[in-house]
């Protein structure tokens, strides 16, 4: 996985299937299809599913920067999601600052939270790192529940549902879908840029062998901190967008272990440490989860998580490279030989 094969001259053409650091036809077709779905004005009930798939694909990609590329598996990313969502919403409600600005403020603060988490876990690896991320998110959640003067406590915060461009509240779901697709493309572009960049290679080195990376002149602590901060900031952006779409926030949902699990699930099913993986994972799982939710409703609380977790066990045990791994196998598929 860590082997880098120099590209021969002939592959300067656009490759058909996704490749690290290169744009492929597969991705271009997927983007055109997504864009087509947005502008085609499909039934509103489906638009819900589509725009959530975009949002969660972006969130899965953001998680993947820490979890997949840097090997820092986190089950506490909902903390950053919540921090982003609360920052932009509080700026809007209290100081009347447009979410177009608030989102970036949220990203900065979520990034700072990420850096703090990275420093807390500076000496931890593997399982204890994961448990610390869980504990960190729980502390943030309980803090948000109890600091009612800022966050509204358990009652949560509501954004007035008045459509306005400045307030980033729209009447039509098509606009929201375009916004979420924009977010997805933004995070995807960052991920693709990361793959080809020096920083990206630092992260692969830290993930694959931290001691060797350190010996080769990579600062592991700096790399880990930057990776988590970037991942957290992008997750925070997603949180703000989520708040602008649902117009309601409460700590029990936006900072929950279930949500953190969902962020990790999408890349794990799609393929960890690949750019296309989280996108494929989200396009597969998000519609499935919405379908389950709309059909079963609250009658069976937790059923969708039961199904997810069983699915994840099977995927992990038998297809650890995920959907992207299956796609990758196609590259070596020679039917006429």
């Amino acid at each position: 996985m860590s082997m880098v094969i120099p590209a021969p001259i002939s592959s300067r053409r656009i490759p058909v299937l996704p490749k690290r650091g290169q744009i492929s036809w597969f991705e271009i077709v997927l983007l055109v299809m997504s864009f087509g779905l947005v502008v085609s004005g499909i039934a509103p009930s489906l638009q819900d599913v589509i725009l959530l798939s975009f949002l969660f694909a972006g969130l899965g990609l953001a998680w993947n920067i820490a979890g997949g590329y840097a090997g820092l598996i986190s089950f506490g990313h909902s903390a950053f999601f919540g921090v982003g969502a609360y920052t932009s919403t509080i700026l809007l409600l209290r100081y009347d600052i447009s979410p177009w600005i608030g989102i970036w403020a949220g990203a900065v603060i979520a990034g700072l939270f990420g850096a703090v988490l990275a420093l807390i876990c500076a000496r931890l690896r593997g399982p204890f790192f994961i448990l610390s991320t869980l504990a960190f998110a729980e502390v943030v959640r309980i803090g948000a529940l109890n600091w009612a003067s800022l966050t509204g406590g358990p009652e949560g915060l509501s954004i007035p549902p008045m459509a306005s461009l400045v307030g980033m509240v729209f009447a039509s779901k098509t606009t929201y879908a375009a916004l979420m697709l924009g977010y997805l493309v933004f995070v995807y572009a960052i991920t693709k840029g990361l793959e080809a960049s020096r920083f990206g290679y630092y992260l692969f080195a830290i993930r694959d062998n931290e001691d060797a990376a350190g010996a080769a002149g990579v600062n592991p602590l700096l790399g880990r901190t930057a990776a988590i901060a970037l991942s957290a900031a992008l997750t925070g952006v997603g949180g703000s967008l989520f708040a602008q779409y649902f117009l309601y926030l409460d700590p029990t949902y936006v900072i929950s272990p279930e949500l953190s699990f969902q962020f990790a699930l999408l890349p794990a099913v799609g393929g960890l440490g690949t750019a296309i993986g989280p996108v494929l994972g989200s396009f597969l799982i998000t519609p499935l989860s919405e379908l389950l939710r709309s059909h079963l409703g609250n009658a069976a609380a937790g059923l969708h998580l039961v199904i997810y977790s069983l699915g994840l066990i099977v995927v992990m045990l038998y297809f650890p490279t995920g959907l992207a791994g299956a796609l990758n196998k196609l590259t070596h598929w020679r039917p006429f030989r």
Binding site: L131, A135, E138, E210, G302, V306, Y308, S309, L312, L317
Partner: protein, 294 residues
Amino acid sequence: MSTLLQLILSGILIGSVYALMSIGLTLIFGVLRIVNFAHGEFLMIAMYGAWAVSHLFGLNPYFAAIAIVPAMFLFGTVVYWLVISPALDKPHLVVVFATMALSIFLQNAALMAMTADLRDIPPVFNRSISIGPIYLKGELLLGFLITILCTVGLQWMSKKTYLGKAIRATVQDGEAAMLMGIPVPRIFLITFAGGSALVGLAACVMVPLFSVFPSVGLNFVLIAFVIVVLGGMGSIEGALAGGICVGVVQSLSGYYIAPAFGQMFFFVLFLLVMIFRPNGLLGQQGAAMVGMNE
């Protein structure tokens, strides 16, 4: 003065109950070198079992152990066969995700079956035992005794029996143990199932003390990991020492710092230990470093 003594004593007692719950985890950790993220959910299931037995049959929860401990042994065996064993020869990430998914699965299956309501059983002893000015809960005292018995029994087992020696050999060097004719996969299975059975025993001790609800495992699993880190992985007496430390800190901080802090206690304690003492109390074994390179 007597308040302080009271706090320390009840801290020791509650800490020993925490230790009992962590022994299974530390054994599995030490022998298989994997972290079972679903440990807390094993405890949750066993607590529901003990609750159901004492609720339906009106039995004393301590007698429920007769049914719960073998049931958890069986449950551990099944989980080992289905999830742990296929993941053992794969990258570390696979075990992490598989046991994490197992924990989410058990939690939500419990949520569906039992709803989110808190389940309690009435207290077993109707009055506290008093020694001078100090009052001690009978359930805690009994839990303390069971933990001590368990620790001594396990120590004896690991020193004197073939199984115990085989387990220690596997901990020291799995490959060498295999070459000496120790059936390492079977040792893994017995350890995993035995660790789960110990969780069953801990659940029977804890059910009169704590309410049961589907996500109860998260609090306790963090405590169990703190204890394992503090005591050194795979060490049974270390778990006892670590558990008592945690219990005393909890009881003192709950009284002197802020009771409202209690909700966050487990999480903050976990993070503090991870920042300042990731190598344990004695700093001899880097438990927190397991799994960094497979």
